[in-house]
């Protein structure tokens, strides 16, 4: 059994595939997931940069590769319809022969960006509406292909410049109707006693809601999680938080529905999110309620006008 304490390879290490003999040079470590380490690599003799993931366990990694392959083939058929062919997501799958054992790896497209919570911290919470929308679009896409993401957390959402969103680490993805393979306690529906760990669209939406609450008001979420004993922890605390906190107000009705699992599917959730983030902007620009001082000033000016007209008439 492999353990997760494998040290990362230093920059400059050359990874040669056992089967296909491709060579990749490690530049640096990009991140460490639950079942592998991801490196930034350069294909030897080429300029392009790729992300290379080395798995701790052949079976786990292959399971992830299976999901990626299936997503890719479905995506490809969709892209052909739309006639925009993106660079392939999954480039190569192979083994690296280290001194004492073979380490499985796969190479994928490299996406530059930062984790969602870091992006929001840097650019400000005004970006939450848009990045949230794009994340929901990604989730809807995944759901429509018959998968749930499972382990949704800020570290697994990559935001590149101008708020483009990508999901990374597909190790927790499972087929709809199956048990969720991998999760993180805060974002887990089961942790809040709010439902099962069976993968359905609402599971991802619940995690998304927690993620948004965290981005908007992390302190409040921490307190809510801490306040109760594990066996009595429930969504009531979350719901009161959603209602109480002014920072959550713009999203409160959406968050409430997601926490209660009331969305029929992620398409519906996406539509409501859209309405929610665009509604206030439109109301703000159009003249809304006329302020009282303006009305009285207007009335006053009419009176003066009448007075002036009368005055002009009599004189």
């Amino acid at each position: 059994m492999t353990t997760s304490s494998n040290p990362a390879y230093p920059a400059g290490t050359i990874i040669t595939g056992k089967w296909r003999k491709s060579r990749f040079v490690i530049r640096r470590v990009l991140g460490q997931g639950a079942n592998g380490i991801v490196y930034l690599v350069q294909k030897a003799g080429y300029r392009g940069l790729y992300a290379l993931k080395m798995g701790y366990d052949t079976l786990d990694l292959q399971s992830e590769i299976n999901v990626l392959t299936s997503l890719q083939s479905q995506r490809k058929s969709q892209d052909l319809l739309k006639e925009n062919v993106k660079s392939p997501f999954l480039l190569e799958v192979d083994d690296f022969k280290d001194r004492n054992k073979d380490i499985p790896f796969y190479v994928m497209r490299y996406i530059e960006g930062s984790a969602l919570h870091l992006f929001i911290r840097k650019r400000g919470s005004e970006w939450i509406g848009l990045t949230g929308l794009r994340l929901l679009e990604k989730l809807r896409g995944l759901h429509q292909m018959g998968f749930v993401f499972g382990d949704l957390k800020p570290e697994n959402v990559l935001v590149s410049e101008y708020g483009r969103v990508e999901l990374i680490d597909y190790g927790g993805v499972s087929t709809i109707g199956r048990s969720v393979k991998q999760f993180t306690e805060w974002y887990d529906r089961g942790y809040w006693n709010a439902g099962s760990r069976t993968g359905d669209e609402a599971y991802d939406l619940f995690a998304f809601a927690i993620l948004m609450i965290q981005l908007l008001d992390e302190q409040a979420l921490k307190e809510a999680a801490k306040q109760q004993l594990p066996q009595t922890r429930n969504t009531a605390e979350l719901l009161s938080l959603i209602q109480r906190k002014t920072s959550l107000k713009p999203y409160s009705s959406w968050l409430r529905k997601a926490v209660l699992g009331e969305f029929a599917n992620s398409q519906q959730a996406l539509m409501m999110w859209k309405e929610q983030i665009y509604a206030p902007a439109i109301v703000g620009k159009l003249p809304g309620k006329t302020p009282r001082w303006l009305k009285s000033a207007f009335a006053f000016s009419i009176v003066i006008l009448c007075f002036a007209v009368c005055l002009a008439f009599f004189l």
């Binding site: 299976n66 048990s179 942790y191």
Partner: protein, 246 residues
């Protein structure tokens, strides 16, 4: 598929060797996982070694964790062991069909189908997990966390497509007998897991070995009394043993 998950915080000190007992379990087709729970200080060199040895003899995994990570660790160990057991069976088939020893020797293009089968079986195979909880005096402050972890494990098991059942034992018992006490019979109902350990009275001794043997008997006969009758039968005639292979 059958598993025993032992949750303890130290060395056994009474009765048969727990390592031998775990080896017996494996012989019966029951995998033994061990979670060592330590919050303050360490489990001691001897305790740590024993935990690792029990898991090795029982064909399972051992981990030493604090109460905070217990739930997550139990979930992970159970899942990993299921996968491992299925993988072993699949590897055996692979060897017969393709002459390859293991999944790792297959080229990546062929792995995908094998893993699909393993994933499928992992999700659908019926599973029984017997939790055996060390209730010696030092475990007392950790029992609340253990109970929460059991609830969490049940939640994860419920999500599987195959039937999954849990049973809960603790040891030592309050009475003169030092074997395991059944707290909860096979169930897949989350609500039956409330306030499991309120009645437990803690005792100092840690008879891990005999407790494991008792749980093996429970798997065999579905009752804790089966052990006695089996012993009597065995004394009457050696050939009787063969009848009880599950």
């Amino acid at each position: 598929m059958k598993q025993i998950l032992l949750i303890t915080d130290g060395c056994s000190n009474v009765g048969a060797s727990p390592i031998l007992a775990a080896a017996h379990a494996l012989q019966e087709g029951i995998t033994v996982n061990v979670a060592g729970v330590v919050d303050y200080g360490t489990i001691g060199e001897l305790g740590g070694l024993e935990i690792a040895e029990i898991a090795k003899a029982g064909g399972g995994i051992s981990r030493i964790v604090g109460t905070r990570q217990l739930a997550q660790t139990m979930q992970m160990m159970t899942r990993k062991t299921v996968v491992q057991t299925i993988q072993q069976a699949v590897n055996k088939e692979l060897k017969e069909i393709l002459g390859h020893d293991s999944l790792e020797e297959l080229p990546p293009s062929q792995r995908s189908k094998v893993v699909t089968v393993v994933d499928e079986l992992t999700e659908t195979t019926p599973l029984q997990v017997a939790l055996l909880i060390d209730a010696s005096a030092s475990m007392k402050p950790k029992l609340a966390a253990v109970e929460d972890a059991i609830r969490d494990l049940m939640l994860s098991l419920q999500a599987r497509m195959g039937t999954s059942e849990l049973a809960v034992f603790h040891y030592p018992s309050r009475g003169s007998s030092e074997d395991a006490v059944l707290d909860l019979n096979w169930t897949s109902d989350l609500s039956s897991l409330r306030s499991l350990f309120q009645r437990i009275q803690m005792k100092g001794a840690t008879p891990t070995g005999p407790a494991i043997l008792k749980v093996i008997d429970f798997f065999r006969y579905g009752t804790l009394d089966g052990h006695q009758s089996w012993r009597q039968n065995a004394e009457e005639g050696e050939g009787m043993l063969g009848d009880y292979v599950v």
